[in-house]
């Protein structure tokens, strides 16, 4: 799985971009987007996904179930 940003709620504040350990977040057409190929859900980095923790609008960075759960390479 990966996280995704609900575009209609994103205030485009850029806080998540700087906190993402995988540089998976970038600005696109006035809101921020997460590249699901780069998102690791912060597994192995932090206890909680950094975008979720820093986002000022609740339920804006949410899990995207259309991707398989991230597997850290052993």
């Amino acid at each position: 799985m990966a996280y995704k940003i609900v575009a209609s709620q994103c205030t485009s504040c850029s806080a998540c971009e700087a906190e993402c350990p995988n540089v998976a977040i970038s600005e696109k057409n006035g809101t921020f987007v997460i590249n699901p190929k780069k998102c690791t859900e912060c597994i192995g980095h932090f206890d909680i996904p950094q975008c979720v923790a820093v986002c000022p609008v609740d339920n804006t960075c949410v899990i995207d179930t259309s991707y398989p759960r991230y597997q850290p390479s052993a």
Binding site: S12, C13, A15, E17, E19, F46, D47, A53, V54
Partner: protein, 520 residues
């Protein structure tokens, strides 16, 4: 430029706190003459009231000197959208409702766009002396963008003072960098020093890769704020402290906050009224938390005045504000407009203009002092408030119907003292007055005995008299303080002779709505 990668370039070495604690000597702010009603350096003051080096730093800074704010302009550039804490008076879908025009979003800029904008404004408004970064998030949560902006501006416009306004959470990490960029004014918003109270104001902070909530969050925040304040003042950086007055939550506590920040060397304390309308969508707005009335705010400011300099002329402006305090010229400098502007940054022309401003300023002070001498020996206990319609320059030069705000002065035998301002709806819309607007104006200046204007029509004049407010247009285009003192002398004489009876006025409203510029 990618903030996440440029961050390291601007990281400061964390300073050893013990060394800093050693360095902190006694409070370095200037002495107030508190309690006498005489102006002190944060309020109406001038050169004689403070050390020369501090006066040099604040004399042209509208946010640090009430006296300067009549003559000099400031601008903010919105380059810092990210924030690292959440406040209950803030809805991040908009700019911070308490330090900006509520419910509106600033136009975000890149550091390069910001630098261009500064040059455009500096050439159009030669009295613009100060560039601040205040958000719309927290400048130090966006260190790359903030310091890159300072870097570009200090290269292109070395005469412009730099300042920033922060919630303080990241402040200790950046003090060295702040010093390196010659940022000589920093504002920290400190609403509490007690974590129990803090928990009611801050739902969370983002700290060391975690979202921390409740008392723990408030404890981290207050520790970092006070540590940052100590580090700044130990490094000789002038600090202003902003506090939002939230009745029933931190209003009594702000007296303690005032003591705490004074003891750590803060130069000026700015207690602002909470702005919280339901339509701003903030926690406080939605749960009906009210803001203070004009009398409550003034009483709290007065009670702290004996301790240190209080700022009363803050307009709680936006992260993209441009112009004199109380005017909003941001609409003239939108990104698309500045990109087309032919910018000519002429330092000589700016200096020549500012010399003229200084002449006017000196004339104003001389006129006030001469008038004050004639008041000497008057020993009346009574004091009154008066409202003034002004466009700046310290003169009564605005038409009653065109005023978007009134400045409030307290007159006593000690002279005229600026004590606040009230925003109002424009009374004249398209040249005719509207009934509702006048009622709003009266509510906003209901605690005033008189209102000084350059001009006023018959209808509003009659209505003001009915409401017990004396409309005064005989001092049109004269200096505010000189005229107000002259008016007060007459007032005292009339009270003494029994011609008029001194009436204690009621309370007044602090307006909650958004300020809409006339030419927007």
């Amino acid at each position: 430029m990618d903030d996440s990668h440029s961050f390291d370039a601007y990281q400061s070495e964390p300073a050893a706190l013990d060394d800093i604690m050693q360095k902190i000597a006694e409070h370095k702010g200037c002495g107030t003459t508190g309690g006498s009603g005489k102006a002190s350096c944060g309020s109406g003051a001038g050169e004689g009231d403070m050390p020369a080096d501090i006066w040099e730093k604040v004399k042209n800074h509208p946010c640090y000197s009430e006296e300067a704010h009549h003559h000099y302009a400031r601008m903010h550039v919105a380059v810092a959208p990210a924030c690292n804490i959440q406040c209950n008076y803030c809805n991040r879908k908009y700019d911070c409702a308490n330090e900006s025009r509520p419910g509106v979003v600033s136009e975000k800029l890149t550091p390069e766009q910001a630098a261009k904008k500064v040059l455009a404004v500096a050439s159009a408004i030669p009295q613009m002396t100060v560039l601040g970064i205040a958000g719309p998030g927290d400048p130090l949560a966006n260190p790359g963008k903030t310091f890159r902006t300072f870097e570009l501006i200090s290269e292109a416009a070395p005469d412009i003072k730099l300042c920033l306004s922060t919630n303080g959470l990241a402040l200790p990490d950046h003090v060295e960098t702040i010093k390196r960029f010659n940022v000589d004014h920093v504002t920290i918003t400190i609403n509490m020093t007690d974590p129990d109270i803090g928990a009611e104001i801050y739902p969370w902070v983002f700290w060391k890769h975690k979202r921390v909530t409740g008392k723990e969050a408030a404890k981290i925040l207050t520790d970092r704020q006070l540590q940052g304040l100590e580090m700044l003042t130990a490094n000789g950086i002038l600090c202003k402290v902003n506090s939002v007055m939230i009745p029933g939550i931190n209003d009594d506590h702000l007296v303690t906050v005032n003591r705490e920040v004074k003891s750590r060397g803060a130069f000026l304390h700015n207690i602002m009224p909470l702005i919280s309308a339901p339509e701003h969508g903030t926690v406080f707005g939605l749960n009906g938390q009210r803001g203070p009335s004009a009398q409550e705010l003034k009483a709290l400011q007065d009670s702290c005045e004996g301790e240190m300099n209080m700022m009363r002329h803050c307009r709680q402006c936006r992260a993209d504000a441009v112009g004199l305090l109380g005017e909003d010229r941001s609409a003239e400098f939108t990104t698309d407009k500045i990109m087309e502007m032919d910018v000519n940054y002429d330092l000589t022309a700016r200096q020549a203009y500012q010399e003229k401003v200084e002449e006017e300023r000196l004339a104003k002070v001389a006129a006030r002092n001469a008038e004050l001498e004639t008041l000497a020996g008057e020993n009346a206990d009574l004091s009154i408030l008066v409202a003034v319609a002004t466009k700046g320059s310290g003169r009564i030069n605005e038409h009653f119907g065109h005023a978007t705000e009134f400045q409030i002065y307290e007159l006593s035998s000690a002279g005229a003292k600026f004590v606040g301002h009230r925003r109002v709806d424009l009374y004249c819309q398209g040249g005719y007055g509207e009934e509702d607007a006048l009622e709003t104006v009266i509510r906003a200046i209901n605690d005033c005995t008189a209102v000084f204007v350059a001009k006023i029509g018959h209808c509003p004049k009659d209505d003001l008299i009915k409401a017990g407010i004396d409309p005064v247009d005989q001092y049109a285009y004269e200096f505010i303080e000189q005229s107000a003192i002259a008016y007060f002398k007459d007032y005292l004489a009339k009270v003494k002779s029994g011609e008029i009876a001194h009436v204690t006025r009621g309370d007044a409203d602090i307006r909650q709505g958004a300020f809409v510029p006339v030419n927007a």
